[in-house]
Symmetry: C2
Subunit: 256 residues, 2 copies
C-alpha cells in the first residue's frame, strides 16, 4: 500500500506571478503533493488583514501547469482561510509561505503578509513556515534560498512541530555557497525610523509616501538581524500569543 505523500499548501504575499513563489513550489514538489492558493496581485505589507463584508474571488488557474493552483482576490490570510476551508479536501500537512522578495526580520513580522499567512497556519494547527530572501529585486537569485528552504522543510517533516508556533526563515542575499548555515534566533527589537515623503499633485493637492529606513536598535548577538548580518539564514520560532507575561504582575498592581 502506498504511503500518502504530505499535502503541502503554498501561498505568498507577492502574488502568484512572482519568482519567489515559483521557487518555493519547485522545492515543495520534492517533498509532497502541492496545492497553491495565492493572491492575484501583490499584497506586501498587508499584515494579518482579512477581507470583511466584501466578496472574495477564488479562480482556478494553470500557471503551475500540472499542479492545482488558485488565485484569490484577497489578502494572504484570506488565501490561507479559503485554501483550508474551500479548496483542500483534507487538512494540509504543511503550509509554506513565500519565498518573499525582501527580508522579514525583526518587527517586520508584524507588517508582513508572508509571515501573517504562516501565523494563520499555526492558528489552524498546521506546521507552517514563512520564507523570505533579503533581496527586494523581482529578479533576485533564489538558489541559496531554495537550498535553505529544502533543509528546513526536511527537518520540519521529520520532527514533531511545536504547537501554536510557526517558523520565520530569512535567507541572506548571498551566493548559495557563501551562506554559512542556519541560526535559530529571537526577533530583534528594531523598528522602521519612519519618514514620509510629502509630494503634491495637480491643484497643489498633497499626498504622502511611506519612505523610512529600518534601524537596528538591538545589538544582541542572538537576533535574526545579527544572524543575517553574519551570513547565516535565521529561523525565529514565532507565536501568535502576544501576551506580555512579564507585565501581568505590574499591570495587576495598578488595580489593587
Amino acid at each position: 500500500m502506498a504511503i500518502d505523500k504530505p499535502l503541502i499548501f503554498v501561498t505568498n504575499d507577492d502574488g502568484i506571478f512572482s519568482k519567489g513563489i515559483q521557487s518555493l513550489v519547485e522545492v515543495a514538489t520534492r517533498f509532497g503533493d502541492v496545492i497553491i492558493v495565492a493572491p492575484d496581485k501583490p499584497q506586501s505589507g498587508m499584515g494579518h488583514a482579512i477581507t470583511l463584508n466584501q466578496p472574495l474571488r477564488l479562480n482556478k488557474d494553470s500557471i503551475f501547469k500540472d499542479l492545482e493552483s488558485y488565485t484569490c482576490s484577497g489578502t494572504p490570510v484570506d488565501c490561507v482561510k479559503l485554501g483550508i476551508y474551500e479548496v483542500m479536501k483534507r487538512k494540509p500537512d504543511l503550509l509554506l509561505s513565500g519565498i518573499n522578495h525582501g527580508e522579514n526580520i525583526s518587527t517586520n513580522v508584524l507588517y508582513s503578509g508572508t509571515m501573517s499567512a504562516a501565523v494563520e497556519g499555526a492558528m489552524e494547527n498546521i506546521p507552517s513556515i514563512g520564507f523570505s530572501l533579503c533581496d527586494f529585486d523581482s529578479e533576485a537569485d533564489f538558489s541559496g534560498a531554495k537550498k535553505i528552504a529544502a533543509q528546513v522543510i526536511e527537518m520540519v517533516l521529520k520532527n514533531q512541530f511545536p504547537s501554536n508556533v510557526c517558523l520565520n526563515v530569512n535567507i541572506p542575499k548571498l551566493p548559495e555557497n557563501e551562506i554559512k548555515g542556519i541560526k535559530i534566533a529571537r526577533q530583534a527589537n528594531a523598528f522602521w525610523d519612519d519618514r514620509f515623503e510629502k509630494r503634491t499633485e495637480q491643484f497643489n493637492r498633497p499626498y504622502y509616501l511611506l519612505a523610512g529606513d529600518f534601524g537596528d536598535h538591538d545589538h544582541g548577538d542572538d537576533t535574526d538581524i545579527h544572524a543575517i548580518q553574519k551570513g547565516y539564514a535565521s529561523i525565529v520560532p514565532t507565536q501568535y500569543d502576544m501576551t506580555s507575561y512579564s507585565s501581568l504582575e505590574i499591570v495587576s498592581s495598578w488595580f489593587k
Copy 2:
C-alpha cells in the same frame, strides 16, 4: 508656571465618524490635549497592514469642533505613523485606539486594526491602549466602556508604563453598573471556526463571504474571554515580540 498637560493621540479602525471614537475622545479630553488622526472610512480587520507604494491622503477636518483632527485614507497603522511623523509637534504621551465596536479578545488581536494601532504605538515607545466594547452595534451604549477607559487612562498616566508593551482592554456588553470590575488576563488561545458563504452573482459567477463563529477552545480561568464572560473588563498586556522562546531549544536541536 503651568505644567504641560499630556498630549494624547486618539485613533481607531471604525473610522472617524463612529460613535466609539467620539466616546473615547470625550474621555481623553478630561486627561489632556487631544489630537485625532483616524481613518476616513471603516478599516476593521486590517490588522497591522500598511499602505506601500500608494499615495496616502491626510486631511484636516472639523468633526471634533475645537479639537485638532485629521482623516487619513489609509489603515489604522498608517494613521499612527502619519500622526507621529507628520502631525504631532512632539511625541505624544499617550496613544488611545478605539473604542472599537466589537470585541478584540483572544487571537482577534492579530486581525484588529484597533489593536494594531496600539501595537504600533508600543513600537514607537508611546504608552498605548486599545479599547474595545463587546458590542458590534454602531449605536451601542458606550457608558460602561467610557467609565472603564477613564479608570485605565488614569492608572496609565500615574504609573510607569512597561516597555515594548501596549494594553488590550475589552469591556463587556453590560449596563455601566453591572460591570464587576477589571481583570488582568492572558490572551485566550481561541480561534475563528471559519466558514465561507459561497454565493453566485450575475452569469453564475461565484464569490465568497467570510462568515465564521468564534470558538472558545481555551478553558483557562485566567483568559480575557473568561473575564468578559464573568462580567469583568479584561486587560491583556500585549507585546510585539512574537518570538516563541520556549521553542528555541527544540528547533535548535533539529539543526545540530
